[in-house]
Each structure stands twice: as structure tokens, then as C-alpha cells.
Symmetry: D2
Subunit: 368 residues, 4 copies
Amino acid sequence: MTLAAVLIAPNVPIQLQQLPAPVVERGSITIRTLYSEVCGTDVHLLRGKLAGVPYPIIPGHFSVGEVVEVGGAVKDIDGQRIQIGSIVTFLDVHETCNSCWYCLVAKTSTRCPERKVYGVTYSAEEGLLGGWSELIYLKPGVKVLTLPQEVSPERFIAGGCALPTALHAIDRAQIQIGDSVVVQGCGPVGLSAAILALMAGAGRVMIIDKFEARLAVARSFGIDDAITISNELPQHHIERVLDLTQGRGADVTIEATGVPIAVKQGIAMTRDGGRYVIVGHYTNTGEVLLNPHLEINRKHIEIRGTWGIDFSHFYRMLQLLKRDRSRQYDIPWENMISRFYRLDEINQALADVEQGVVLKAAIQPNPQ
Amino acid sequence: MTLAAVLIAPNVPIQLQQLPAPVVERGSITIRTLYSEVCGTDVHLLRGKLAGVPYPIIPGHFSVGEVVEVGGAVKDIDGQRIQIGSIVTFLDVHETCNSCWYCLVAKTSTRCPERKVYGVTYSAEEGLLGGWSELIYLKPGVKVLTLPQEVSPERFIAGGCALPTALHAIDRAQIQIGDSVVVQGCGPVGLSAAILALMAGAGRVMIIDKFEARLAVARSFGIDDAITISNELPQHHIERVLDLTQGRGADVTIEATGVPIAVKQGIAMTRDGGRYVIVGHYTNTGEVLLNPHLEINRKHIEIRGTWGIDFSHFYRMLQLLKRDRSRQYDIPWENMISRFYRLDEINQALADVEQGVVLKAAIQPNPQ
Amino acid sequence: MTLAAVLIAPNVPIQLQQLPAPVVERGSITIRTLYSEVCGTDVHLLRGKLAGVPYPIIPGHFSVGEVVEVGGAVKDIDGQRIQIGSIVTFLDVHETCNSCWYCLVAKTSTRCPERKVYGVTYSAEEGLLGGWSELIYLKPGVKVLTLPQEVSPERFIAGGCALPTALHAIDRAQIQIGDSVVVQGCGPVGLSAAILALMAGAGRVMIIDKFEARLAVARSFGIDDAITISNELPQHHIERVLDLTQGRGADVTIEATGVPIAVKQGIAMTRDGGRYVIVGHYTNTGEVLLNPHLEINRKHIEIRGTWGIDFSHFYRMLQLLKRDRSRQYDIPWENMISRFYRLDEINQALADVEQGVVLKAAIQPNPQ
Amino acid sequence: MTLAAVLIAPNVPIQLQQLPAPVVERGSITIRTLYSEVCGTDVHLLRGKLAGVPYPIIPGHFSVGEVVEVGGAVKDIDGQRIQIGSIVTFLDVHETCNSCWYCLVAKTSTRCPERKVYGVTYSAEEGLLGGWSELIYLKPGVKVLTLPQEVSPERFIAGGCALPTALHAIDRAQIQIGDSVVVQGCGPVGLSAAILALMAGAGRVMIIDKFEARLAVARSFGIDDAITISNELPQHHIERVLDLTQGRGADVTIEATGVPIAVKQGIAMTRDGGRYVIVGHYTNTGEVLLNPHLEINRKHIEIRGTWGIDFSHFYRMLQLLKRDRSRQYDIPWENMISRFYRLDEINQALADVEQGVVLKAAIQPNPQ
């Protein structure tokens, strides 16, 4: 039997259950979970904010583990054969069909109607298909990557699902060397995006949040300006950005808050002809009033939504993490993790993420 | 003396005045106006909706005329020497400095703080610097183009300022061969954009308006689907577009209405991963409620504002108009003009445009 | 038994053989071939110019047929269930893995090492996996499309594999409305590209070939200028293009000849800052001398190779062909076909294509 | 009188001449030269390799100086008034007309027929219009920038004209975070491009040269791999790049050698579907044999020439140089300068650059 954390229904505390260990079929893999992640999506799952979730589920969509069983000769995407003892990760999205209009014509596999997501859209009754479990069962065809030697499991989980999401947003942002960039929100996605903006050659990167503790982490990563939202002066952070950009606004602004009013403020911080990338609105938190003349047409701006990731972002994330640890370019991604939690601390981990007490919470299902 | 139509102040009927004929200096040109245009911007000028207008002004920013005097050897942008009797037009925007950050670094000359616009930001006291006049004075350095033989003055004024504006919007729309395209609004800009979408290879072009008369003109231009907005069924036109696009929405939607709610509706008509181009919001008509999650991020769409035109759009407009008149590709742009007006009918022309009685009104300041 | 044309080995005339009819397995389909195509690649197969071909093969990679047997509930890419009697076509490329670096990270499925091609890389011993046969066996997972009612099988085969190839080249060419475009070579790919350039809004489309008969067909499709290569004046066609483009060269040039020296000439016909798209070099025909300073760097041009097609081009081809047959936009694709051949005339068809006697040869394996 | 270095004619040693000091007219500026640069173009001027040069000339197209006289109220491009004592630089390109097809329609001001270049296309008889002189005369309308406090004149001249040229090449290269990048040639442009590639987020940057001394400088700037061209094993550097890129070749390759055969080698080092940017071919050094099938079409690559710079690259260069000198992102551009030369050492400086003895030579016309 395998111990797993099960979310029975929305707003019910997570329960630990003993579930049957997986039976490996041809092409599949069982891994012993080293780390899994608690992200904002897990809070939404707890609160019942996502549609189409087949409760009960085992949450945890971003994980890394050690291979304990393989069903025959299975290769990872780099063509390496998976071995017992290999440290691997996998893309949570599975079963995109590669034979529908979304996959083949629009080339937006994130909109494929067949796609399933580990830790989100598989029921606990279908197997160990989420990361908050001692073991995870990787079905045949799940896209697996072996961690490079340079990337420890801790470093990987510190990047977490925020890193490929931020990478996708940065691709959409098309930063040119020297551009000024504002990131709204200093959670894992926002901070990752700010770091990536620096890596992409931005001339000045500003990040905005209401929590001082988060901004302190941003400063430790070398972000140029960490700006606090003031309750007393609600326009202060906008004015600060304008001051830092010759009054014009940033070339590129990236939204990573999930707060509707941030969109209006973010456009105000963006220069005429600039780009505004929205990546923080993964759930419905309401509407915002926008003026199409003043805020879009006359500004000649571009607003780009960023939905999900595909395998390329996941793959490139690993390349990023393994970059040489030279003085000049190493990023201490590990510092993103605020705390590690055991399986039996899972409700605490969720509460900490929900209340913003931690920047990133990592689950360690097996004692070490 | 020269007869000109002068707008003394907002909401005051236009008056005809005898003003001094221009004195040509070196590098300048005087033209006898053949046609000038009445566009929506002129209604805004009448109603005092634009900031920074130095009333009294001579309106008319898009005009064509015959050269009656030249100050020495002056060339058009193609390098041809301007001759007495040449039929020429000119870009209304003048005095962009080509030496500021907007002109040189951002390369958005439409945001240059030095720019002036014939018929809009020159006072009548500065000279005959608007098109609703028997003569127009082209200052040294105004960007002049000689009409090609294939393009009659009527054809040119029928394209009017809507055509380069629509061309700019189509560039922003990046239509691929076979794309489905919706245009919201069947005024001159919307209809021009719909025609250009067909020319750009769109697989299906839909246009939406509330006036049946305008849609009838669209049908005469070969637009695939002309869809009426129904007062009784306010969602009907959205549903119609979804029906025509396998339920997904159009690949590209172009807004040419100036109505805030159209933005919300237009996004609803656009497919996931599609593009939404806003070109109709040239003045402030208020705000619209948008949901950043449902309408931008999850849809993974791009929203692009389109502000003004630069010389390249104006130049390419003439190339478009002179295309061979072969069976297959000729567009009867002339049919855009609903009526020609004399200078002394100018208040009627403005009223007709304001009330939507005409698709396009052309002014003919000199009797023929 | 089924009659099929088999290419035993390079340079051996095609033989007709009676082969076992397919046994339909779950998910597969058997079609009775209506038409298949003879294209330049088939001549290369005959001459042994392609590497890795598992002779004997049944050639024919672009075909259309009537469904005679289906292995259970099989859907086409639009989600329609395949019925006995349906008229369908399919993408020749099969078995791209969707789980390698090329498929998932570079997103260039045309470079996937697992891909197989009907009519090219399947042996005749593996089954009826080529179009020059009374029946074709569509393996499970082959990407099938049902022909829309508006598209007759003759219209489809007239587009042939040249049309999606040209569509891919046009996507790479990024034509803006009004651009001048030169196409080098008036074979099926070149002529299709020229027609698509017109559809994409090009201001002037020029096509160049040495065969007058091909250029006559181009003229019948409304191409603006059909220019003959002169043996006596080898620079004449280059000068002609420069004359037609104010001495600057075309905005975009598309190579569809497969002749190395055409690349040098094509660059000479392209304006500074223009684009040069190479789509005609599907086999190795040698080298050309280029001057990196004069022909690439100082010209500030972009040269883009175009390899193969993916499913999206194939899908969009069908959308193109079904466009409304209105006066203004209908393209008589059917006129591309020079002659239909029976299976027992296959060697004649190949000879005619090899000698350039026909523009396009279509095979009709079943008597009608 | 002012001491200036004059190049009388090709292949004649530079002479020092006393020339009349400038008479400042309205809108113009005189600066006392702090530094000017010797670049490869100056060697080409000495050797008579450029067409249309009006010898005698004062070379030196990239310079920085202190303002000694101003003709009235003159502003720099940021809108700051120029003061006596200000440290300024200027774009060497002047007189682009902003009223021709190249400037306005193609938006490639580098091809404007009216453009003139300080130090290259102005005769010494027209005034002190080159940098190898105690004073430089900035005509009215020359585009001037004030050096930010953070950027010393030495740092600026160390960047030199290579830096904006490399910046333009990097823009054309469109590097995505994590891309592998090869730069061919470790002169000032190549090394600058390699450093910018790192700044733009490349995952691995490789640089290739035949001189060990240059590669040592590259290593000191943190370039990942500095690869020597071997005379004995002429394919060695190509194989080395393939080894470092999983056998596929780099995502992006940048040519900065000016050697034709490097183009063939560079394409061989680039992956299928990759980009190849040519920036090193500023003069004609002959042709190279390319195979359009193997090296362009089947590889599905893009080749992009990069001609000249415009003001935006020059402006952004200054932004780059002033970036915060924090631990993580500071680039020691100053280390690019191998040696400073006095005016009377100018022939030595040219010889050193021609022979590749120095990476970058800076001229200091006024004793300090």
C-alpha cells in the first residue's frame, strides 16, 4: 500500500489514505516521490474554484522522483533509456491527442479537449496520478525527462511549475536588450518572470507587491527595483514606475497577480506602443473597467494572454536550471523555497500558501 | 481671396469666409482643391471632443488637388518634380521632428510631440491649412505624392483617410491565407478593413453593423457575411459568428465601431489564441467591463491597439488604388462615396455624417 | 487482389502487379483511389535521387479516394465519423512520434526521425501504402480529412501536393498588402505560390520560366507579369523585374525551380531589406557561388528555406479550395491539370512530368 | 588652428595637418575630442576598399568629446540642453532625408541615398567632420547624446561602433532564453555579439577564432566556450560545436568574420530550423559555394544580413553601458581596449588593427 494525500471534495481538509501500489504495465513507470509542489492552483482545487475536477483527487501536478519500476524499455524525451534509480520528472499534461484541430492546425495543445492533467483532472480512483503521494504512476506515453546531474531535485522543485509558466510569459513578452520591464506580483510566477526578464537582457526590472517579505526575496535575486504597494497612496507604485521610466512607462509589463484591477494599473505603467502580458489570471476573480480609447487604442499597445505551458517550456526549464554555475550567471533558484513539508503537514502547507505566509511550499512525501 | 469653410468654435455652425490667398515661399506648393473629405473626426471637431484644437480652424485633413503654384524645384516622395497642373495629395501629418525618442528610438512617429495635422491642429490664422477651402497651402517639407494616372481624384477621395487607417489595422492583424475574419462596424474604416481582409486572403470575412444600408454596400463589395445587430436579440450577431466558425470564433476580429461594449462582444467572437485589433476608438466614449481570466488569459488572445498612420500606410494606399483593373482584383472603391457636397453645403455634409445617413461624404470646394 | 503500380528499383520502368487486398484492422480504413498525383518527387524516386527509399515501393503520396471499409468508429480530424462512401484524403506523412525533441521542443515535425511517408518510405511489401493503386490502406492514426461538398476530387488533386507546399512558402514569405512578389519557376509549386501571392494581397506578382506554355497558364490565372527566360539575353528576366519595381527589386522573391543559379539571380531581383524564400530545392542539384557582402549583408535581406509541410498546411489547403465560388475570388484550380492517366499509362505520365510536357499529371487508377 | 589626421588618398600614410578651427553657426556644436576609434572600416578606407569616399578625409566615425562651443539653444535627443563642458557623443550618420522611399516606406534609413557619414563620406575640405582631430564640428541637426554620469568616455569608446552593430545583429538573431549560440570571429563585433547573446539569455555561447589572444579575452568575459580554429584539422571547430549541441548544431549562429568560407561553415554549425545572422561582411571579400538544397532548403534555416545601424541601436547602446554596476550584471566593457594612441601614433594604430595585434585601438587626440 502507498500513502497518499487525498482531496475528497472542495473545502474538506486533505486526508491521508493508504492506496494500492501501482501495477506497472508495458511502457509505464513508477517513481518514488522526492518532492512535489503546493501551488496556487492547489488552493483553487481546495476551494472548488476549478471546473471539471473529478473529486476525490490526489493533488500535486509538479513533482520529481526516483524510478523504482519500469515496464520494459522506456525512453525519456532526450532518447535516454530510463533506469531504476534514475531521477526523473514529467509533464503533468497527458493525453493531448495530436489529432484534433487544436493540436494540429491551431498548434495550441493547451486547448486540446482530450488533455488530462496529473494532480488536477485524474480521479484518485484511477490510480496514483498526483504528486502528494509516496509513489506516482506514470502512464505509458507520459513525457518524462531525466534530471541532469547539475540539477538537484531541490533546485528543480524550487523552479516548480512557476518557472515554465514564467518562461512562456517571457516568450510572449519578446523583451529586447535594454528594455524596461515591470512585473506586477512577487509570487513564484512573478518573481520567476522578473528573474527571467533580467536573464533576457532587460535594462531595468521593477517588481511590485504588497508584501515586504516577498520583495526582500526579489531584492536578494538582484531585481533592480522592488516597489511596495501603499494602502495610503494607491497610485504610488504607478507613479514610481513612471518616475523610473522618464515618465513614459515600461516597454513591457507582465501581470502575475490574479487581481483584476492590476490590469488597469499595469496598462497605466506601460509606455505607448508597449506590450502588456497577462499570466496571473488562472482563475476567475472578476472584471475590471477598461477604456478602449485611452488604454488600448491611443496607447497603441499590445495585450497578450498566456495560457498554460507546453512541453517545450518544461524542457527549456531544465536547460535553464542546469546552466553553468559560474559567478556571473548562476541564479540561486533554491532560495525560492520557503519551507519543506511532510505529507502529514499538507493542510498546513495549503494554509500557508493560501495566506501568502510562504513564497513556495514543497512537499516531501517520503522521509529522508 | 480664397473661399474657405471655417469652424470658429465647437458647436458653432461652419462659416464660409474669404481668406487671403497663400504667398508661396521656397519649397512650398499651392493646390486648387479638387476634393476633401468629411470624416468622423470632423464631427468630433465640431462637437469639441478633441483636445488641443486651436479654433478657429479650416477642417479637412484628407484632400486632393491640382497644383497651381510651386516655390522652385520641389519633388514628391517618389522623386518626381512637381509641375503646375499635377494632381497631388499629401500626408496631413507634418512637422514630426525625426529627432526625438518617439521618432528615432520607439519608431512611433505618431506619438511625436512636434507633429501637426492639416485640418486639425493648425489654426485658420496660420493660413490655408485645411482641405475645406478652394486652395490649400502645402508648407515646405509637407510629404506630397503625385496621383498615378490609374487613380482618379474621385477614386482617391473614396479611399479617403479610412483606407490607410484600415491598412494599418490589417498590418496589425497579420492575417494568414484562409483565416476567418470578423469586422465590427461597417463605416468607412470597417468596410475598408473588411475589403482589405479579403484582399489579404482571408477565407471568410464577416462584417457586423446595425444599419442595413451600410451592410448592403458591404455585400456589393463581396464581403462573405453581412450580419445585422438585432435590438431584440442582443447576442444574435455573436452567435451568428460562432455558427459560421465551427463554434470556435474567428481567427481575427477587427473593431471599427468606437463603442466600448463592442470590445467585449468582439472578444467573445474571437477564437482561443486569436487576435483582436482595435482601430475604432479614436475618441473617448467610455469604459467597458472585461474579465481578465475569461476574456484574455484563458483565451490566450492578443489585443492590439492601432493608433494613427504613418507615411508608409499613405504611400501603400496609392499603390493599392492603382492596381490593375483586371476582372479578378479590381475593387470599386468609388462606390464608397455616398454623395458630393459643395462648400456651401458643408453643414449638411457634417450633419449627414453625424447621423450616419451617408457612408462617406466628399467635399468639392471648386465648381466643375 | 488489387492492381498497383510498383517501382522495383531506380531506373526500372514501373510494373503493374496484383497485390493482396488490405485486411482492415481496428482504426484503419481502406479507400478506393479516385485520383493520385505524379509530382517531381516521383521522378526523383524513379531516378534514385532520394536516400533511404525501401524499393520496391508503390509511389503516389497525394491521393483522394472513396471509403470502402472502416475498422470500427474512426473519425477525421474535424471530428466527423468516417462512413462507407465518404470521399476522403489523408496526410502522406505518418508516424511522427510527438515525443521527440524535434516534435516537442523545436516544433518541426518535418524533422522527426520516426516519420514515414506514404508513397515514399513504405515498402510495397508492407501493404498498399501508396496512391498508384486501386486501393490504399490507411493505417490506424493516419490523419484523414473528409472532402467538403464544395471541393470535387478533381479540384483537390489539381491543387495536389504543390498547393500546401506553396502555402507553407507563402507563410514564410509574410507578404504585406501591396508588396511586389516575384516567383521563379512556373511548375505546380511556383504557379501555386504566385496565385497564393495574389490571394495574399500582393500588389504585383511576376512569374519567370523558360517554357512559354507554362507561362500561358500563369497568365490565364491572372498573374500580372509572366516573364520568359531568354537564352540569348541571360540577364533579361532580371532586368525586367528591376524595370517593373522602380529599379529596386521585388519586396519578396520565391524560388521554385530547383536550379542552383536561380538563387543568385533571385537575390539580384530582390530589393534591399527584402525576403527571399527557397522552396524549390527538394533534391540536391549542386552548388551556387554567392557573395556574402554584396548579396546578403549589404542587401540586409532575409533568406528562408521551406522544408516540407505539416498537417496545418494540408488542412488549410482544403479550406482554400472550398472558398465560395463567387465571381471575385474563385480560382479555377482545376485548370492546373494537363492530363489524366490510367494506371497502365503510368510510365508515360512519369516521362511527361520529367520532360516538362505537362504542368500537372493526375493518375486515375480505377476506370470510371 | 586645429590638428587633425588626414587620409589624403588610399595607401598613403596618414598626415597630421593644421586646419582652421570651426566657426559655429546656429544649431551647431564644436567638441574637443576625448576619444575616437580605429575600426576595421578605417583600414578599408586606408586600402581604398570603399566606394564613393571623397579623399582627402579626416577618419574617425565613432567619437566622444567635451562641448567647447554651442550655436544657441541646442538639445540632445533626450531633450536636454547642451552645455559648455557637457560630455557628448553623436551618431556618425547624418543627412538621412526622412523624405524618400527608403526612409519613409521601407523604413531602412541605412539605405537613404542622402545619408552622409562622419569620418567616411565627408571631405576634409568640408570641415572638421571626422574624429581623428582635436576638434569635431557637429553640424546643425547632427543627433547628439549626452553621456550619462555612469558611463565614462573610456567605457563608451570601448563599446565603440562594434557594440551598436552587434546589438543590431542580436536583434536580428531573436535569441530565446536558453538558446545555444555560436559566434564566428572574436573581433570587437563578434565578441560584443557573444557578450550580448549571454545578456539576452542564451543557454550556451560559443565563440570561434584563430587567434588565441582574442579568445582569452572572450573567456575573461565569461563566454562559455572559446574554440580555436585549427590549421591541421579544418573541420575541428565545426565538430566541436556539434559535440556541444547534441549533434544538432546551434539554435543561432552569428557570423562576424568577413571571410566568405565562414558562411558555409557557420551554416554547418546551425541546427535545422535555426537562424544564421551575417554581420561581418562589411566589404567585398569574395564568394562562397553554397548548396541550396543541403544548406538552406532541407535545413529550413533563415539567413539574415545585418546592414549598418540606425539611431535606435546607438541610443540603446548608451542604455546598456549605464546599467547598474551590480555584481551580477556588470560587463567590464573597458577591457575591450587594447591600447590608447596619440594622434601622432595614428599610422601605428592602423597597422596594429590591420594586423590583428590589438582587439580595439582608441585614439586620444588631445593630451590629458
